[in-house]
Symmetry: C2
Subunit: 402 residues, 2 copies
Amino acid sequence: MIKKVLKFGGTSVGSIERIHHVAGIIKKEFDAGNQIIAVVSAMSGKTNELLELSKKISKDFNKRELDVLLSTGEQVSCALLSAALINLKLKAKSWLNWQIPILTEGEHTNARIINVNVSQIDEFLKFGVAIVPGFQGVSKSGDITTIGRGGSDATAVALAKLFNADTCEIYTDVDGVYSSDPNKIPVAKKIDKISFDEMLELSSLGAKVMQPSAVQTAKIYDIPLQVRSTFTNRIGTKIFEQDSIDYSKSVTGVAYSKDDAKITLVGVEDKPGVAANIFEPLNKAQVNVDMVIQNISSNMKKTDITFTIKRDDLKKTIDVLKVNKNIKYDSVIQNDLVAKISIVGAGMVSTPGVTYRMFKGLAEENINILAISTSEIKLSVIIDEENTLKAIKKLHNIFELD
Amino acid sequence: MIKKVLKFGGTSVGSIERIHHVAGIIKKEFDAGNQIIAVVSAMSGKTNELLELSKKISKDFNKRELDVLLSTGEQVSCALLSAALINLKLKAKSWLNWQIPILTEGEHTNARIINVNVSQIDEFLKFGVAIVPGFQGVSKSGDITTIGRGGSDATAVALAKLFNADTCEIYTDVDGVYSSDPNKIPVAKKIDKISFDEMLELSSLGAKVMQPSAVQTAKIYDIPLQVRSTFTNRIGTKIFEQDSIDYSKSVTGVAYSKDDAKITLVGVEDKPGVAANIFEPLNKAQVNVDMVIQNISSNMKKTDITFTIKRDDLKKTIDVLKVNKNIKYDSVIQNDLVAKISIVGAGMVSTPGVTYRMFKGLAEENINILAISTSEIKLSVIIDEENTLKAIKKLHNIFELD
């Protein structure tokens, strides 16, 4: 008897037809003798619709009530999917966050699952399918909480852990993790196996297949994941711990994001505490600084500091720099027409020349590198946005990902 | 310190602007020193939208899951209204059915409220406004239940009883109970005071201001009600126990419904048990038979039986009559182009000539009466649908309701 947690995302339950289709997948799994816990997201568009409503009431909508509001999205999906399964003559039942309960801690709209009562559902799984809303839980004080956007992945991983499930399968609208965005790079290849760390880098760097925090949790608890399509029968991508991965390839994938902006402060005093003076107020203003590069200036007492931020934060960042008199510099150069391109691979650290090959490849295409940042398993560069596609294609080609 | 239960219907919370407006009403009441429990319906159209979704999944949608689905409508209203109040610097909090809890018994989609835990909310009312979803509760087994369409009125009355509230005010989209439908009869007059019994008859007979079952509960527990408009400052209609009502008027209002149909079975055997043979299978098929009239036939061994049903049940009724071989008759006459017109008044029973005046008035307008039914405080007739307006106007005039 295999116990499976199956997670179905917003597009997978985005219409009546799709809910019937998902019911068919679950019935097949159940009829094959598996015990099934299905975690469902809100129907696609639903959460945004509720968020829009909340913004119309108040731009400062109370967070406890926002959780009450948003949690209805998954509740609707649960009821519809359960009824569709019952219609297929299966015993199925929706279990809402407080009925299980799924206990969380932490603040509203950003809570964490800390425990789940498994006994009732485990008993029920002997003869029926349990349908559970993703993205939500209930606090010790009995308030509904949500665990952040895309949190249904995190719910699936937490349930897989706490129910001691054999597999955790993330059903979505793509048929796996790709070496790059298949919509942009037609030669992008589906990755069959990937490590948690690589997946973490890829999802942090713009691949939208899974939420980074859910991958993180799966890594911590060593829950092997499988990302697969709701709409095809293809096998998907397996995500698991590094030591069981084939390292014959140094680079697993190329990620990119176009929502970055680059700022250079020219002529900053070159003395201790200057960087802190710059980044402390940005941190207070909740600006997330990504890459930081400090160049040696020609004037030996001054230096240039370049950093990247989310493009949405550009105006706020410039405002903070202007208002804060502790930050001294000659001028600011801002550029929001940049893209971040990253290569990711668990084998990179042990493969010499990856960095060199990347820089050489970009140079061959006449692509100027504006900033560089590295970690053990990834290498990111900032380039002009107009070169994005050319860069991805070249890197794909160099590292034989086609 | 006055404790008030205020109920806001679907149109009262039907848009963001209206929710802000309702928040304003509540703030005014709170600032005046009152303790406020607000019961809210789903935003207008929302429950029907969810019902449509359920029908697309299955015509036989599981009832437990239907309750899970439908209860989200009021949950959304609760969150939006609470946040709107918090935005006005009030302490406000949504209390969901299971958080209170509102305990129910009876089957899914048709449960009854049997108890409510008042202690937590009573404590909260000392400094804040409690927002409670209408129409729903939780069963002893911990499942969400709903209490039937329009059940938010029943929730308000039950809470008024169990919280020992001083008043129960039903805010709606009309400014009170009218002597007849003001949209159809421009001279219809708002009734200032009406007895529970009269209100019960009026609401059972088609006046859509309040759900009959809620009025019934208010009568049983002697909870005075006030029906008033969310959108004007007019006083509304007070509904309370009969012995405190002014009987100077024999007839309080004229109600009508156009959703009836009339069936006559011609040539039924005139012997004991025949009526039971006809109505038992209809009862089993859940056809609600309203008026029954048995005429003496010219053939002394046979009789004609006429009865009225909801128009929606016409096909089902004819099917039952055809299938059931215990029911013997010569022919069936069916007519779905009928309307039921009723005059209602607590003073009718003690005022001679009301019946005569009604029949004479209809005759003067050449309106044929197809069936008659009476009770202590109402008199209903079935007439051809095309005469509805003419009949209402005439009765209004006769009984000086203009």
